[in-house]
């Protein structure tokens, strides 16, 4: 009885634990982000422009619905970190003197804030500082507006704008090669001839203000000053990435505990039913003494609820502890300055309610059976259960089956619901494990298609200002550069019917070797001379088909709006874009042979020389080293995925083991007498084990294919839920994903089988001769 109670308790502890851990972690992440945004006055609307006088900022303030306007200077710089040969790019932001209510307020981790007039002092972002081991007192060299300058780091800071710190145009964070720096307003404005002017603005709006209207008014106001289109917080890069990631966490944090809790609930129900079943005789005695069904029922209900209470308390404690640890891991990952761990009452209450509900249901079910019979009968041996020949046997296969095999089949059929639930439990375990492994394969595939087949450059560079197409020749002349392909990119608003999407239109050269477009079957596409090709996902977002006219509203230069037919779709797992021939885009913009940047293939042996040369070209704003970025991405991701795979494997194996072992334990105690009788009749331990293990083996064999199907479904569901305009996770399941899940399930079944085999040694043959049941 004590052991049974402990077993029930442990099932509840693990179910509640996982539930509390997942939900509290999720709540904490959301809550931390909200608090961070609120306390640090993260802006609602952002806009960048070429240059506007400060008086314009005052006019912005007059737009109805605007609460606060903060103008600043933002510059792209290249950074030289001592002992690091590769090019490092960064953003240098002007920081007004610290005042209450300042937007996008920094969180100062160490050091001090800036002196308002010092032009050699900077704050650096924590991720960048950590990547290079920089501390207050360290020095950096940077090219600011073409002039080399030595900068003293006075503090390390975090910003709500850069929770996700990614270089513009890059898909993966690379903290070694991209950083964010802050300099005091006055000296930075002076360095860029921006005294009394600004090129970037952050805005908060009042409650109830119409965000869209404000953005439209803002665009109207800024267009003459080279405004590049204002955007709201949900389009802000760091926030968008974070939101997508949290959305994924939400999916995982709900799917997993639901499965695990479901299985735990099933085990709880089975174990409690069994417990009450064993108490049959005591129930009869109590009733013989004159206790009513209600009194007997309440007695057992109290017993069960006490166990549940302890289980839930244990589960909440374990879950809160695990949740806090997990939240800390995430905090590191997401670069929050602080963590606010919350365990909301609804989490505890729903965990307790589900546990208690399931336990009470199991108790009632078993009690009803026990209460139905008269006391005298309760004290007699249980009547033999009613069986009949199974379907398989009625089909005429009977004579091929030995008696023990018939016992297996008939037992499964008689307890078909229980067997079915066991099979589903094992299948779910199998499915969970596939999810863990699926992510890894999917990401490999995604990267292979995107960077192995489509974007094959080693480096991509962006010029500060669009340049002449001839710039390609000077790049190609750098020793070590093997191949150069130019591109033109403009930010634009794409519209079809009432839908619109803001992205870049990429003008690429037809027949390029570095930038290649793939159709939905991953075949190379020849870029036609006219028309635009869209990422398949973008076409879905705009609900546009090949042949439909797309309206392109360019947000740069003289801002033309044109209508271009969609001539094809490309397969892309990362980002969404519209593609045209570069010359066609030039014509559309009414410009000559102009490029925004170039893709480079570089001989690996010369890469450091190439980097050094590129660093010396002042009009290069930004260099993305593709291969390194991918490597970095894998390193970050590997940790997360490893953790995730570990958790899901552990979960899956626990569930598989829990279901198999518990089912067999219960079967063993229920069929104890039958099996002992067979031992008496001269059956060996192995032959008797066959009856139990054979039943389990059969169920496992049924469960594995079902589990692989469920796993496929779960993976498809997650892949679908993970689809965003930032990236799409392809549903790619390699055979090893199936093999792994199946082997872990079979392994868990074998392990519990072995433990049952050891239990069979203690089967008491003498006792069965004398006892009734």
């Amino acid at each position: 009885m004590r052991l049974q109670a402990i077993a029930i308790g442990l099932v509840i502890v693990s179910g509640v634990g996982i539930f509390v851990m997942s939900l509290s972690t999720l709540d904490s992440l959301f809550n931390t982000r909200e608090t961070y945004y609120r306390e640090h006055h993260f802006a609602h609307i952002f806009a960048s422009l070429k240059r506007a006088p400060v008086s314009i900022a005052r006019r912005i303030q007059e737009i109805p619905g605007i609460e606060k306007v903060q103008a600043r200077v933002v510059a792209t710089i290249t950074i030289d970190v001592e002992g690091f040969p590769e090019p490092v790019s960064g953003h240098l932001l002007s920081l007004p003197a610290q005042s209450p209510g300042l937007l996008n307020q920094l969180y100062l981790r160490t050091g001090r804030l800036l002196e308002p007039d010092r032009d050699d002092e900077v704050l650096v972002s924590e991720t960048f500082a950590n990547a290079h081991g920089l501390t207050p007192g360290s020095k950096l060299r940077a090219t600011i507006n073409g002039r080399r300058k030595t900068l003293n780091i006075v503090g390390i800071a975090l910003s709500p704008e850069y929770i996700y710190e990614i270089a513009p145009g890059a898909m993966f964070p690379d903290h070694k090669r991209y950083g964010v720096l802050w300099m005091a307003q006055i000296p930075l404005a002076a360095a860029y001839d921006m005294e009394g002017a600004f090129n970037d603005v952050s805005i908060t709006i009042t409650k109830g203000a119409n965000e869209k209207d404000v953005i439209d008014r803002l665009d109207e106001l800024l267009t003459p000053y080279g405004g590049r289109g204002a955007y709201a917080r949900h389009d802000q890069f760091s926030n968008r990435f974070l939101s997508e990631e949290l959305k994924q966490q939400q999916t995982i944090a709900t799917v997993f505990p639901v499965i695990f809790f479901g299985v735990a609930a099933f085990l709880l129900n089975v174990v409690i039913s069994r417990l009450i079943g064993l108490e049959r005789e005591q129930i009869a005695i109590l009733k013989a003494f004159g206790y009513s069904n209600l009194q007997v029922g309440l007695h057992y209900l109290k017993l069960v609820l006490i166990i549940v209470l302890f289980g839930v308390m244990g589960g909440v404690l374990v879950g809160a502890w695990m949740g806090r640890s997990l939240s800390n891991i995430y905090m590191d990952y997401y670069r929050f300055p602080f963590l606010i761990y919350v365990l909301q009452p609804y989490v505890i209450l729903s965990a307790a309610a589900i546990s208690a509900g399931v336990a009470v249901l199991g108790t009632m079910h078993a009690l009803r059976a026990a209460a139905k019979m008269p006391p005298a009968q309760g004290m007699l041996p249980e009547l033999p259960a009613v069986y009949h020949a199974t379907l398989v046997e009625r089909l005429g296969l009977q004579r091929w089956l030995s008696q023990p095999t018939r016992m297996i089949l008939r037992h499964i059929e008689r307890h078909s619901l229980k067997s079915l639930i066991s099979v589903i439990g094992i299948a779910l375990a199998c499915g969970i494990m596939m999810v863990g492994r699926f992510q890894e394969g999917a990401i490999n595939y995604m990267v292979e298609v995107q960077y192995g087949m489509s974007q094959r450059e080693d480096l991509s560079i962006t010029f500060v200002e669009p340049a002449s197409g001839r710039a390609v020749y000077s790049l190609a002349s750098i020793p070590g550069v093997q191949h150069v392909e130019s591109y033109r990119a403009v930010s634009a608003r794409l519209r079809f019917a009432h839908r619109e999407y803001r992205t870049a239109v990429q003008g690429v050269n037809p027949g390029g070797d570095l930038q290649r477009l793939l159709d939905t079957r991953l075949q190379l596409i020849d870029l036609p001379e006219a028309g635009v090709i869209l990422t398949d996902y973008l076409a879905e977002l705009l609900n546009i088909k090949v042949g439909d006219p797309l309206i392109i509203e360019v947000l740069e230069g003289n801002r033309p709006t044109v209508q271009v037919p969609v001539v094809g779709l490309v397969k892309q797992y990362l980002g969404v874009s519209a593609y045209m021939q570069r010359r066609a885009l030039n014509r559309l913009l009414d410009e000559g042979d102009v490029i925004s940047g170039a893709y480079l293939a570089v001989d690996e042996q010369y890469q450091n020389q190439v980097y050094a040369e590129l660093k010396d070209i002042p009009r290069i704003a930004n260099i993305i080293i593709q291969r390194v970025a991918i490597k970095m991405f894998y390193e970050t991701l590997a940790e997360t995925i490893l953790f995730f795979t570990f958790i899901s494997t552990l979960l899956g194996a626990t569930i598989a083991f829990g279901v198999v072992y518990n089912s067999m334990r219960i079967a063993l105690s229920e069929r104890n007498r039958e099996l002992a009788s067979m031992r008496v009749l001269g059956y060996t331990r192995g032959e008797v084990a066959y009856i139990l293990l054979g039943e389990m083996a059969l169920m496992t064999l049924l469960a594995v294919p079902l589990g692989l199907l469920i796993g496929e479904g779960l993976c498809a569901y997650l892949a679908f839920r993970f689809d965003t305009d930032l990236y799409r996770v392809p549903l790619v399941l390699h055979p090893d994903v199936y093999a792994f899940a199946a082997s872990v399930v079979i392994g868990s079944a074998l392990l519990s089988g072995y433990m049952i085999w050891r239990n069979l040694k203690h089967l008491d043959m003498v006792a069965v001769l004398k006892t009734k049941e």
Binding site: P384, E674, R679, M765, L769
Partner: protein, 246 residues
């Protein structure tokens, strides 16, 4: 020593069991229970022996030791020339499998198998078994072979158990209170089945009972009390089961 339980056999080759000085001590918590205190006993081919005695007299322990289900604390039990007290677990399993038939008070049928299949459980693993059908006919259940235990009365279930025990053609049939859970009318039918098997197949049969009346059908009646044989009686004339006063 004049011990009637080990009296000179007509032919020593007819001795099936030879037990010598068997002692069995159980450890029940902190208490030692002496179930058997040095029992000497010979059982002969084809005889029907009834073990009588009150609860705790050691008769079930003795039966379990003879059947290879329990071990002795001291002494030796020979089945023909094989010492059961020295046998391994595997050898005991084999011994039960090929040589011993058991009948239990609570039948211990497999509920998921029909009467015929319950018998087949044993015939499938035996060396020279009879057909399950044949065994069931022997106990008068030829008509009910496809019934599951839940569809049979207590007496019928016990007769299936007997059919299961004899179907392997065992050398010994060990019955622990076979009529204990039955009313007198059904009990007689079961006893008749046992008597018939003993008579027609010559199976050495040992039958434990509380019911002194049943002793009338035995060749020999052995009384146990307090772990010792207290009396052995040889029936000059065996009574037929239906004549037994219950």
């Amino acid at each position: 020593m004049d011990n009637p339980a080990v009296h000179s056999p007509p032919d020593s080759a007819d001795v099936v069991f030879h037990a010598h000085g068997i002692t069995k001590v159980y450890q029940m918590g902190e208490v030692q229970v002496h179930a058997l205190r040095g029992v000497d006993l010979d059982l002969y081919r084809g005889e029907l022996v009834v073990l009588l005695g009150p609860s705790g007299s050691g008769k079930s322990t003795l039966l379990n030791i003879l059947g290879g289900l329990d071990t002795v604390t001291d002494g030796h039990v020979f089945y023909h020339d094989r010492d059961l007290t020295q046998a391994s677990e595997q050898q005991l399993t084999e011994y039960r499998r090929y040589h011993v038939g058991f009948v239990f008070q609570f039948y211990n049928l497999i509920p998921s198998l029909t009467a015929q299949e319950n018998v087949a459980v044993v015939t499938e693993i035996a060396e020279k078994p009879m057909q399950p059908q044949e065994a069931l006919e022997l106990v008068g259940l030829g008509e009910r072979i496809n019934h599951f235990p839940a569809q049979l009365s207590g007496g019928e279930q016990q007769r299936v158990a007997i059919a299961r025990a004899i179907a392997k053609n065992p050398s010994v049939l060990l019955c622990d209170e076979p009529t204990g859970a039955l009313d007198s009318k059904t009990g007689v039918v079961v006893l008749e089945a046992l008597e018939r098997v003993n008579r027609e197949m010559g199976t050495t049969t040992v039958l434990i009972t509380h019911n002194a009346g049943i002793a009338a059908m035995a060749d020999r009646v052995i009384h146990l009390a307090d772990g010792r044989i207290s009396e052995v009686r040889i029936n000059a004339r065996k009574a037929a089961p239906r004549d037994i006063s219950w």
